[in-house]
Symmetry: C2
Amino acid sequence: MSASRFDPNFTQNVINAMGPKTSPRMREVMTSLITHLHDFAREVELTVDEWTEGVQLLNWAGQMSNEKRNEGQLVCDVVGLESLVDEITYKKASEAANLATQSAILGPFFRHDHPVREKGESISFNTPSDGVPVYMYGQVLDSVTKMPLANATIDVWEASTNGLYEQQDKDQVDCNLRGKFVTDKNGEYAFYCLRPTPYPIPYDGPAGKLLQLLDRHPYRPAHIHLIVLIEGYRPITTQIFDKDSNYLDDDSVFAVKDSLVVEFVPRKGDPQAKLELRYDILMAPIDKSE
Amino acid sequence: MSASRFDPNFTQNVINAMGPKTSPRMREVMTSLITHLHDFAREVELTVDEWTEGVQLLNWAGQMSNEKRNEGQLVCDVVGLESLVDEITYKKASEAANLATQSAILGPFFRHDHPVREKGESISFNTPSDGVPVYMYGQVLDSVTKMPLANATIDVWEASTNGLYEQQDKDQVDCNLRGKFVTDKNGEYAFYCLRPTPYPIPYDGPAGKLLQLLDRHPYRPAHIHLIVLIEGYRPITTQIFDKDSNYLDDDSVFAVKDSLVVEFVPRKGDPQAKLELRYDILMAPIDKSE
């Protein structure tokens, strides 16, 4: 600790300023955050000019953020923070319950208004010439009993082969490569999508600036986003990664986990898709006593 | 360290992602920042929901910031970060040079376009009925030789008695309580201003939200902001505090330092002001060898 050169009471004074009505959790979180922020500043002897640049970068992130884009989140992703809190949250949940499908970060391109589509429909409405259609299907299961779960909803979204999600790309129709499916009485879901391809995260804002300063590439390995929900079970937010993709070892947002890497295999006798992916999803029941 | 429950390699992987072209200082700063952010998240087992609230707060700060307001800075001020980097920067400078006037934080209300005013002019163009005019004067001196410094510029700004800076208040004329003065051949400056009064920092944004969550008041002790510049000397950004003010011991942004507390004394025979303040400013010469 390099605190000694500087006022040794400063950090404790800031912490002590918290009033008695601060919630215990807020107090715990802010005590640790203030301590680590101050230790960081002292450790590197952060200057006013450097701090000012940091503030400008964060303000810029807020200014670029809107309903369709979350640049503050993306800045966190670049320094691994979303992936870390995802790991922490998953670990806490899986210690309490049985082993469910591993989680992964939400990412900044989720929309709350995915349209509901019928089992077996396609989510690709502007299939590009280099797009490879895939039939994705599977079951949603109870992680303890392995019984199929009917009426689970699966939110799915992916980028097109140009690396853009539909809200980033005026040439894609609204909600292209995005949809919500409901499992049938056998817990089964199915849809057509595109084999995902690697893409760079948006490079025109503070997250891109940070990557530049850190001499890092902006690419993510090919992946499909999923959120699976059913009453009485822990929600799952995850991503599945194509085992043949580049960047599995150096994802720009550090989200890859081994258990989420999947293999697309040839599909026969289906004019709509040359590849298929069976992917079952294990949901952990919520313990009533929690 | 509570790292053991979680992937022990994660933080190092994020740090290792920095490429060879990262500048040495950037590498030093980001290695420490990433380490402390991750340690913080693990220490309190930060959840995805809590992190999401933090991102929303930071995005909100950026969205509220503009030419006249810097809410990202204000959020930092509330957790003591600006005051700490100010201390660090001042300490580094004063170790290299001679003891100059102590610095204090810039705060979010500085404007780059202060108008130049004549020595002896007033900066108060909308003096409120409860405003107490003050004649403030003094010399700018070399901290080593104590010789007066001509042609130093002094930027000054303060809030009115309603607690608002002119850019926050449509009832004040542009650049009210704000101006730039130049020292004469004797290094002297002088102007009329108002005795400062305590005020709350803006409470309508994320900084106010944070103060609420921390059960803290938003008040700052009465102060006047100064920036003093002259070629060949280290710039000084500081604030002076009224010794009779409330909140000297619990400034909401932690900026008070003992050496910056001043006393306003009665002034005789001047119909324009009942109080006066003599305040000399010591400027540290820049060492040519630095």
